[in-house]
């Protein structure tokens, strides 16, 4: 403890001063952390003439006479319009039709990949995490250590082989197979190991006595897993789902390389494609970035406790 209690009229104590300084420093850090995001939002609402100005302006609100005039702001949604490419159409439900590939193709693909992978990972990780948490068997330590070691294997070094495997399977002409299945399996295999460990940690926290009681009451071991333990583990499973969902959503290189047809590629490829096409059109790139990133930011803000739980659990293990 630092000094004696301070009266109302005394100078601030050292503790108070330190607190003030820490808050000032944190505010500054938050400012710098969010600066790139804020400027991107600003850019996304500018017109092309304002984006390509020399020297650049932060707010498109200057006039011939004044540097900043709030009534003269030239905000525009041009960037978003060029990503969405809505066209009037008689037959479409809202009177227009969306033609931008980001919204018609890439984003729906990403939603599909992220949800299917998330569900698969939750299912597999909860089954094996449960087994690791509740049973003792030979080879358990070895298997768990193996899975932990795999956690660190990056997608990148396996990608070459996966790419060749993809070509071989594609050529073999299995009915209903397409690259999407292979991509989702790859994502599942890639995000599963850490999730197994996270799931085990969550199951360890659920008292065994509940299951034993269910067994006594006549449920089968699988029945007690699905009816008693899994419902209690739901918050943990939700964390795993969200973490996997975001990871797949944000993944680029596998989605880019393992899928051969452009119409099956995910949103991050669409973003990469946009970067190549719009070298000067910063407002279009900014708008596309925001359209792709906003859903994840919203999910994160709504469920941040879930994320932190999975991350801390996973980081300690992995």
């Amino acid at each position: 403890m630092t000094t004696a209690a301070s009266g109302p009229n005394r100078a601030p104590t050292r503790k108070q001063r330190e607190g003030f300084l820490a808050n000032a420093a944190l505010t500054l850090i938050v400012f710098f952390a969010l600066l790139p995001i804020v400027t991107t939002i600003l850019i996304s609402f500018k017109r092309e003439e304002d984006v390509t100005r020399k020297p650049p302006v932060i707010f498109p609100c200057d006039t011939a006479t004044s540097g900043f005039d709030i009534t003269a702001c030239r905000w525009s949604t041009e960037g978003y319009e060029r990503v969405i490419l809505a066209q009037p159409s008689e037959s479409a439900p809202f009177g227009f039709q969306i033609r931008g590939r980001m919204l018609t193709t890439y984003l729906p693909n990403t939603v599909l990949y992220a949800s299917v992978t998330g569900l698969l990972v939750v299912l597999l990780a909860s089954l094996s995490g449960y087994a690791f948490s509740r049973y003792q068997f030979r080879g358990k330590m070895l298997l768990m250590t193996g899975i932990l070691a795999i956690t660190g294997v990056p997608l990148l070094t396996n990608l070459l082989a996966l790419y060749q495997m993809g070509i071989t399977i594609r050529k073999s002409g299995i009915p209903i197979y397409d690259d999407r299945i292979f991509l989702m399996l790859t994502y599942t295999g890639f995000f599963l190991p850490l999730s197994v460990w996270i799931a085990k940690g969550f199951f360890d926290a659920i008292p065994r006595e509940l299951e034993e009681a269910a067994l006594i009451d006549g449920l089968s071991p699988l029945g007690s897993l699905f009816r008693i333990t899994l419902p209690l583990a739901m918050p943990g499973m939700l964390s795993i789902f969200l973490l996997t969902f975001v990871n797949v959503w944000n993944e680029f290189i596998a989605g880019y390389l393992l899928v051969s047809k452009n119409e099956l590629k995910p949103a991050m490829f669409g973003m990469y494609d946009f970067l190549g096409q719009n070298i000067i059109n910063a407002q279009v790139i900014a708008a596309a970035s925001i359209i792709i990133a906003l859903p994840m930011v919203v999910v994160f803000l709504l469920a941040r406790r879930s994320f932190f739980r999975a991350m801390v659990e996973g980081a300690i293990k992995g």
Binding site: A161, Q164, M165, M271
Partner: protein
């Protein structure tokens, strides 16, 4: 959410007969539960490693794959592009890891004061982590677009990058000081480091903050009473106590930094020249631009060996940590 449900009254006699009967024969249930996971991991994680091994000793000729022994590795070691790329990777990793750990530690110390605003700060600081590396790269590219980027005005002084029309992302690397080793790095590599630090900071901050919260206040306070100032306390008490977590963070940053490639794609694509061509991007260009899969496999294996060493290091540290708890 941990809930406690009152357990129903136990019928002790039937419980004991059940567990006895269970113990007598092998329970196959856990194997069935684990089997799907193991199968997926074998197909997606283990088999490709062996596949890469096989690829690395072959070369694609018009007639098909031909066994070439260790020639792919030889060609890698002899290529100056590879040696330079190792240099870029080392510079990138040192800058990225040192900056992220230092800044992350400082921010975690500030957050550990448990002020009323901590939750809000953590939430806001965490937003960059949720962004994809492609998006982060795009965002940072917009900031320094030649002529039009918001920061280009400041960074585009002729005094900093030489002739007009150059910017952070287009200025060439200065003449190297030590023979082939690409030091000092190009402005683009430094900018790549800064962008990567920006994205990795939240993760490291949270990791270190979680570790800091396990350090008891009494230890800190007693050292302050003994006359140590804030810096001495941090250096002699706090850092040793959270050292294992720092090492874990160091390993995982190195691992992530070595294998992350999205930022390079979106920000620099290896350029200008090859000044930001780190190993992960080189792997992509050898494999998918030059279509030299044998040589790319050899490179992937070498990266994988370094990865394995890092993972083994992390596991050792975490085990030590668990033992000491």
């Amino acid at each position: 959410m941990e809930q406690t449900v009152p357990a129903p009254l136990r019928d002790d006699s039937s419980a004991s007969t059940r567990t006895k009967r269970k113990r007598r024969r092998i329970d196959w249930l856990p194997f069935w539960l684990i089997l799907p996971t193991v199968l997926v991991l074998l197909a997606i994680q283990v088999y490709p490693v062996f596949y890469t091994l096989v690829l690395s000793v072959q070369e694609r000729k018009p007639s098909g794959w031909v066994y070439v022994g260790l020639r792919n590795f030889e060609r890698l070691f002899n290529a100056s592009a590879v040696r330079e790329s190792v240099g870029h990777t080392l510079i990138f990793l040192v800058g990225y890891v040192v900056l992220t750990l230092t800044l992350g530690f400082i921010i975690a110390l500030l957050l550990n004061r448990k002020s009323r605003l901590s939750g809000a700060y953590i939430t806001l600081l965490f937003i960059p982590w949720i962004l994809a590396d492609i998006i982060a790269g795009a965002v940072f590219r917009l900031l320094v677009l030649p002529d039009y980027g918001l920061f280009s005005g400041i960074l585009q002084q002729p005094g900093i990058f030489g002739p007009n029309g150059l910017s952070v992302l287009t200025a060439p690397a200065p003449k190297p000081w030590f023979g082939e080793f690409p030091f000092p790095p190009s402005p683009a590599l430094i900018y790549l480091i800064l962008a990567s630090v920006w994205r990795a900071l939240p993760f490291v901050t949270i990791l270190l903050l979680a570790a800091l919260q396990t350090v008891s206040n009494e230890v800190i306070e007693s050292s302050r009473i003994d006359g140590a100032n804030a810096l001495q306390t941090i250096r002699h008490i706090t850092i040793p106590l959270i050292l294992p977590t720092m090492v874990v963070a160091l390993f995982s940053l190195t691992l992530g930094g070595m294998n992350g490639v999205g930022m390079v794609f979106a920000l620099t694509a290896g350029g200008p020249g090859n000044s930001t061509e780190v190993l992960s991007y080189l792997l992509y260009s050898i494999g998918w631009s030059a279509l030299d899969f044998g040589r790319a496999a050899a490179l992937a294996l070498m990266i994988a060996v370094v990865n394995l060493l890092l993972i083994a290091g992390t596991m050792r540290v975490t085990r030590l940590q668990q033992r000491s708890e």
